[in-house]
């Protein structure tokens, strides 16, 4: 049921039947790029709206509720406003790097999202080193942040960028190690295969303690990696006004803003894929009837549901906790998360060696 492989295959076959191989490939690529650009923009708009509503409810407010149905068009209106704004470039800023930075961040966010499997067969690139690629590419984003801070000719931006550099490089380790734990359990780096291994139970349930620990480590570390609260030091507005994007306005600011939200989606999507069974429905042992009903829900809905749950968790953190200080942040990583991660990895390796994993 609900297999997108055939559909995707038939589109490919159709294009290859109509055009010469070169043109067909080019068309395929264009199609993929257009779809993902649209997805990127829509995700950004939807998530900004959701964030504003969720935080409003945490804060005894209503949030946007006037433009469109229940305020849904508010983010569209805001996006249009940002489009119309004058792009201000600071005096004595490094023009090339200043203009390049938002694109690097967008590029990193967009590349990572292309590996996310939305449903069976609904994935742009299913490469066999999927997880490795994600970890590698997502760290390109820090280059954009560093460039933005460096080129802005603003001390606040520079401090924000330097903090960001230290933070992302540190937390990259925890993200990588917690995913590595899961690679030990699944025995593969390919995202579609990781999901296949969870047909008889999600890793968070069948992966024993190591998977649960890895899940929490991954969520913590990746919140820090995408600069969200309580780890939003690079843009700590009460200290650094807006951190690395202080001097950006209009569309270029929108790029940073969008990338932040899309990164949040990506992190939630990877958590879903690796720990929560991706698009696999929720099954309970041998309750055949219950499982059949669960199977009836389309996998893409399952996927989005799980991703929403993780995103809600991250928003909950952000709107509850105060911000850490930079030295406390680094201490948390190097003194607690990293050793815990390494121990977890060794423990998992022993489990796998003994053959006790699912």
């Amino acid at each position: 049921m609900y297999d997108f492989t055939a559909l995707v295959q038939s589109i490919g076959n159709f294009l290859h039947g109509q055009f010469s191989p070169g043109v067909a490939t080019a068309l395929e690529w264009t199609l993929v790029i257009l779809v993902y650009l649209a997805l990127y923009a829509i995700l950004g708009l939807v998530l900004v709206y959701v964030e504003r509503r969720v935080c409003a409810f945490f804060q005894l407010r209503l949030g946007p509720n006037r433009v469109g149905w229940a305020g849904t068009a508010q983010t569209v209106a805001d996006a249009l406003k940002l489009l119309l704004k004058e792009p201000v470039t600071v005096n004595k800023a490094d023009k090339l790097l200043f203009n390049l930075a938002p694109f690097i961040i967008t590029l990193a966010a967009l590349t990572v999202i292309s590996l996310v499997p939305f449903a069976k067969g609904l994935q742009a690139f299913d490469i066999n080193i999927g997880l490795l690629f994600i970890v590698a590419v997502s760290s390109i984003g820090v280059v954009g942040i560093l460039l933005a801070g460096w080129s802005s000719n603003n001390k606040y931006a520079l401090i924000g960028a330097m903090r960001s550099g230290a933070q992302i490089v540190s937390y990259e380790l925890s993200v990588g190690l917690s995913l590595l734990t899961m690679v030990l359990l699944t025995g593969t780096l390919q995202l579609s295969t990781i999901i296949e291994t969870q047909a008889n139970g999600w890793w968070i349930f069948k992966g024993h303690v190591p998977a649960v620990i890895a899940f929490f480590l991954y969520i913590t570390a990746s919140i820090a990696e995408i600069n969200r609260g309580p780890f939003d030091l690079p843009e700590a507005e009460s200290e650094l006004t807006a951190g690395f994007h202080t001097e950006y306005s209009g569309l270029k600011f929108a790029f940073f803003f969008l990338a932040e939200f899309v990164n949040m989606f990506t992190v939630a999507a990877i958590a879903t894929t690796v720990f929560l069974g991706g698009w696999m429905p929720f099954h309970i042992g041998d309750w055949a009837g219950f499982n059949a009903v669960m199977d009836f829900v389309p996998p893409i809905l399952w996927f989005l549901l799980k991703v929403s749950a993780v995103i809600f968790l991250m928003m909950w953190f952000k709107w509850t906790f105060p911000r850490l200080r930079i030295d406390q942040l680094l201490k948390l990583e190097w003194k607690y998360l990293m050793p815990l991660n390494l121990m977890n990895l060794v423990f998992t390796a022993i489990l796998v060696y003994l053959g006790w994993h699912g």
């Binding site: 804060q59 005894l60 903090r163 009460s238 200290e239 006004t241 709107w319 105060p322 911000r323 030295d327």
Partner: protein, 377 residues
């Protein structure tokens, strides 16, 4: 604390260079138009130079040509969060000079409104404190409860922030018939909400890590710099004017002077939270015992103070607020000086913040609770 105050320049391996950062006058956490020139080594603060005067309106000079009734209205615009208490300072000074005995009813109402003002100020401070440390939600929680107090004020005297409820000799109006009921409702409501404040911030490990042991000020420093109010009391400096030089009804109600010895950001935070409980206690004792009577003592249309010098201290939400009047017998003062608590509290910042991180400076400034118009005047 030793690593906090270690000022040795970092010269090993990598050479580092100190640089200046202009924090303010437009900055989210300077709470108004304060400009701090920071000397920073990486993230570590080496020196803080406060530059003030961006909202100086020469209120003291303006007072020299205003009548005593008019001066009361100017004090609202200084520490706008303690406006009622500022008003009272001038009124008390004038009453003391003219030796007017205000009715008992006035004293009780003034004290209740004083404490409500203090609560409103501390609620706002609590919200902003959370926001400065990145927990934006607390800001709206603080405002939710402050709104109730503002509503009471609005019903009482028509204004929500700059109330001008005091006049020399008494109050501008009598209280609204709903005043007692609404105040009691508020006290009941806030007694359930104040523990929530603790849940959201005080018990949060991140909040503790950000405030405990940060920005230490010793008792000696507090006395030397004249840091009063909850900030001074958190260092153990017993400076509560309500206890030392009681005015209004403070000599007849029971309340504790909150004294702490830690002297760090968390002590200053905790001192204010505990002070809110004490304010609630004072209101509870007085609200059912408002005596009948006049709400104003008879005063002359044009108030002329006798020749001489008069000084009156009150305890605002920020500390020891003083009014010093030199009168030459005319209808306006010859010279008038305000001793604003914020001014003294601001200039200890350099001493307290040296050696701590940039993010700590925000926490320290938050716990000193600066209101810029109070400092610049």
């Amino acid at each position: 604390m030793s690593d906090q105050l270690d000022l040795a320049p970092a010269t090993d391996l990598l050479t580092s260079q100190e640089y200046f950062v202009n924090m303010g006058p437009q900055h989210p956490s300077t709470h108004g138009v304060l400009r701090l020139v920071l000397t920073i080594d990486g993230e570590i603060i080496r020196k803080v130079e406060p530059h003030i005067g961006y909202i100086h309106r020469s209120i003291e000079k303006m007072c020299e040509k205003d009548t005593y009734r008019q001066i009361v209205h100017l004090t609202d615009r200084m520490d706008y969060l303690s406006c009622h208490i500022n008003n009272e300072a001038v009124c008390l000074a004038v009453e003391q000079a003219l030796q007017i005995e205000v009715p008992e009813r006035v004293k009780v109402i003034r004290t209740i409104v004083d404490e409500l003002t203090r609560l409103a100020s501390h609620q706002l401070w609590w919200g902003v404190m959370g926001m400065d440390l990145g927990a934006i939600t607390s800001f709206l929680y603080g405002f939710r409860d402050r709104e109730m107090i503002n509503d009471i004020f609005e019903e009482t005297c028509g204004a929500r922030l700059t109330m001008n409820y005091n006049v020399p000799g008494g109050l501008m109006f009598d209280i609204h018939p709903n005043f007692q009921k609404r105040t009691k409702d508020f006290v009941e409501h806030f007694k359930t909400k104040l523990p929530e404040y603790d849940q959201l911030l005080s018990d949060n490990p991140i909040f503790r890590a950000r405030t405990e042991g940060i920005g230490y000020m010793s008792k000696e420093d507090a006395i030397a710099y004249g840091v009063t109010g909850p900030s001074g009391r958190a260092s153990g400096f017993a400076c509560d004017v309500r206890k030392r030089h009681p005015y209004g009804m403070y000599s007849q109600v029971e309340f504790k002077e909150i004294l702490m010895t830690d002297g760090d950001c968390f002590a200053r935070y905790k001192a204010r939270i505990l002070e809110m409980w004490e304010s609630l206690r004072i209101i509870e004792q007085l609200i059912d015992n408002i005596p009948e009577g006049e709400f104003q003592a008879p005063t002359k249309q044009v108030i002329k103070l006798p020749k001489g010098e008069f000084y009156q201290r009150v305890e605002t939400a920020r500390g020891d607020f003083g009014v010093y009047i030199i009168s030459d017998g005319n209808k306006s003062p010859y010279r008038l000086k305000f001793r604003s608590p914020g001014f003294s509290n601001l200039f200890v910042l350099d001493l307290v913040a040296r050696g701590s991180k940039l993010a700590d400076l925000v926490a320290i400034m938050s716990t000193f609770d600066y209101v810029m118009p109070d400092i610049d005047r």
